[in-house]
């Protein structure tokens, strides 16, 4: 599907995990385009996933969730591996953007979340805030890195490298409204086939006001390492409580100091 990319419109990914085959073409394409060298090879001895996590070198990560029963008496039966190509969610209410003290994290003209490398100073406040463990510090530059949703490609009218490379169209790119419609159709189709566990994550505004990179999941979000709607909370929720606690302590502290230091004549 050729998409005309126009500034001022919202774009994103719809990742349909029900048709992900775990080929990791998205990881390779991402590294290729963004010139990410990747981490040193490691053997995690945990499924077929040796990438492990999203970080400064892995802006796409195909998660393998092992659901193979210990005693597979029922071969297949739809329970084997869940695979999901994870990525920055480009949240509408982005925790990283909220706390960034330098203004390095901005929302682009395509409504995606982007870290300006020449502004970031590596304070790591965004890492403490991102609930999806997406952002990491690049050891060479000392700045925070994550998926840019191929900002440079979008500016050139090209779709992101991962979506372009995905052989099963598990990763779909396009205007957000169109993707949401496509997701609704796909979910209805699956549910009509009896796949009742299928659910959309980030399609509506229950998770961080809605995600530009949202998913169709085949199990509950926690299974994939994603906070559910109850746990998807912004860091700034603690501003009022934190400052109030400090204020009450300050008042009590000053009061205690006045009691201790007040003038009581010559001693």
């Amino acid at each position: 599907m050729a998409t005309t990319i126009k500034p001022g419109e919202s774009y994103g990914f719809f990742t349909d995990t029900s048709i992900c085959i775990g080929c990791k073409a998205c990881e390779v394409a991402c590294k290729e385009w963004n010139q990410l060298q990747g981490n040193d090879p490691t053997f995690l001895a945990d499924s077929y996933d040796n990438t492990g996590k999203l970080d400064d070198q892995n802006w796409r990560h195909v998660k393998f969730v092992d659901q193979v029963p210990d005693q597979a008496v029922d071969a297949g039966n739809g329970r084997a591996w869940l695979m999901m190509s994870d990525v920055c969610k480009h949240c509408k209410h982005a925790s990283c953007m909220d706390v960034c003290p330098t203004g390095a994290i901005i929302r682009t003209e395509f409504n995606t979340v982007f870290i300006q490398q020449d502004v970031c100073n590596g304070c790591r406040n965004c890492i403490a805030a991102c609930p999806y463990s997406v952002i990491a510090i690049n050891q060479k530059t000392g700045t925070a890195h994550k998926c840019t949703l191929c900002y440079d490609r979008l500016q050139g009218g090209l779709e992101p490298a991962c979506a372009k490379a995905c052989p099963t169209q598990s990763i779909q790119f396009g205007p957000l409204a169109e993707l949401q419609k496509a997701a609704d159709v796909r979910l209805a189709a699956l549910q009509s086939q009896g796949v009742t566990q299928a659910q959309l994550y980030g399609r509506d505004d229950k998770v961080y006001g809605g995600l530009n990179a949202f998913f169709l999941l085949m199990d509950k979000p926690e299974t994939y390492g994603l906070p559910n709607a109850d746990n998807a909370t912004l860091p700034t929720r603690n501003d009022v409580g934190g400052y109030l606690g400090a204020l009450v302590t300050a008042v009590l502290g000053v009061f205690a100091g006045v009691i201790a230091f007040r003038r009581r004549g010559e001693q």
Binding site: V99, P101, P227, L244, A256, G257
Partner: protein, 311 residues
Amino acid sequence: MFLAAEHFVRAPQWQWYILGYFFFAGLTGGSYALATILRLVGHERDEGAARVGFYASFVTLLVCPLLLTADLGASWSRFWHMLIDVTPGDQGLNFKYWSPMSVGVWALLIFGLFATVSALEAFVLDRRSSTATGAPARPMGGVAGRAFNVAGGILALFVASYTGVLLSVSNQPVWSDTWVLGGLFLASGLSGSAALMALLTRFRPDAEFSLGRLHQSDAYFSTLELVLLAAFFFTIAVAGTAARTLPWLPLWVIALLGIASSLAAVRGQLRLGAGGGSGVVARAGVDTMVLSILILVGVFALRAAVIFSAQ
């Protein structure tokens, strides 16, 4: 109030530099606040201890920006990006009232002016005292001088406490599961500052007059800290993340020993006040030194335990 939280967040790897900054921010803010209270409500003979507080605040302040810039992943020269937004087409001052790190940087900068001016004033007063008879006139006396100290004191309380709020305003386990950290760091910072000032009175005979009351205030702050520590463990237990503190049990024990030392110091002071010869006074001096160091170690350990428990 808090959900049994599930966290999938990465640790920011805030380690020794940030721990050091949190420690010195507590001391610089706490010392200034205590010095201000001493000057405003204390006896005129408390002025010596107040000046000790202003000096302590200034010296501990100097370390803060060094530690903060050293911790930055990018070049230290980008520290000023916290203050000025250099985004092309969107240049201007950076101030996000909802981001404690942003507010804290500004608070530290402005508080730095107050701490520097107050330390300079103390220095001028000390110079005049050594050359003149009687109490020298304050360069910044009167209502304006008091207002200056009060404004600086308010900023000082903020600097000593916002570091805890900064941790809470995240999605990290433990830190974000409680509202207590700002208050806890402030109470602990005030306690440590009282201990630091008590320790420094050894080097300034005219400040020893205030020693008993510094210990007394320390006991109050430590009691407050103990209550907040209980609230901290209660809130993270409700959130289901209390188990993450267990590997750092030795640090929590040291923090508690620091609190116990504060209470022991005031007990010793009360005994001293009840009477004693020169031998008792000398012993009390040693006790003050040992207990003050234990209290300061406790202040450091508390912050280390909180920081490491989430990471």
